[in-house]
């Protein structure tokens, strides 16, 4: 079971989680991550832009890699694009598995790759206008964990 979507309007994380739980009734464990626009001082809005011909196929390929690498009953990746207010959900990733370790690692893997390796560009609107958010070093460290694990497989 694979459910990969891009939304250009808001989605309900609660409804997504409930839908996923129903779709994987035999999973003994479900790990989920919900990411929201942080309510930071002076951030009025966040815009996530993307290049659709790469973004959605990239998310599908990411889901396929996770489904191949871990023993999962299902994987859901929902991602917002467009302009969002603080507190709005940006991303929802859920994995259901027989063993919780598989579900944890699959969600962690998907989030690391969505954050650093997916075709999204972010900018924030502050009182003095829009500001692009640059790549972060931590994300590349997060990603490289998986490469090391791959070499050891």
């Amino acid at each position: 079971m694979k459910d990969v979507r891009l939304f250009d309007t808001g989605f309900s994380a609660g409804e997504g989680l409930a839908r996923f739980a129903q779709a994987v009734p035999d999973a003994g464990g479900i790990v989920s991550f919900v990411g929201k626009v942080r309510a930071e001082q002076d951030v009025k809005a966040l815009e996530l832009s993307h290049y659709e011909p790469l973004t959605l196929p990239g998310m599908e390929a990411l889901a396929d890699r996770a489904l191949e690498r871990w023993a999962l009953d299902g994987l859901m990746i929902w991602h917002r694009v467009g302009i969002m207010q603080p507190g709005a959900p940006i991303v929802l990733v859920s994995a259901g598995a027989r063993h919780r370790r598989d579900a944890f690692e699959a969600v962690d893997f998907a989030m690391d790759h969505l954050k650093s390796d997916a075709w999204f560009w972010k900018r924030e609107r502050r009182s003095d206008g829009w500001h692009w958010i640059e790549p972060r070093g931590q994300d590349h460290n997060d990603l490289s964990r998986w490469d090391i694990l791959t070499e050891q497989d």
Binding site: S49, Y51, P53, L54, P57, K115, S116, D117, A118, W119, F120, W121, K122, R123, W132, I133, E134, P135, R136, Q138, D139
Partner: protein
């Protein structure tokens, strides 16, 4: 006879979201048509190029025909 060129992320601040350029278009032709600020970034190794939705391994080998879409992709945003 034109090629659509899309500028993603902060490249859109320097060149607008999209421009049409004359076809056919190669790497040298693309650079010639860019404003100076965007040109410097696009020439750098961190900006990737997709032709009709496919990333080029070597962007300098670009050969775009009439009706093609080029996307210029700066590094994606972190966390």
């Amino acid at each position: 006879m034109s090629v659509r060129v899309l500028f993603l992320g902060k490249l859109s601040d320097l060149a607008g979201a999209e421009r049409d350029m004359d076809a056919p278009l190669d790497w040298a032709g693309l650079l010639e048509n860019l404003p100076a600020g965007a040109k410097a970034l696009v020439e750098g190794e961190k900006v990737r190029l997709a032709l009709n939705g496919t990333l080029l391994a070597d962007k300098t080998a670009l050969q775009a025909e009439d009706g093609s879409e080029i996307a210029l992709l700066p590094p994606v945003s972190g966390g």
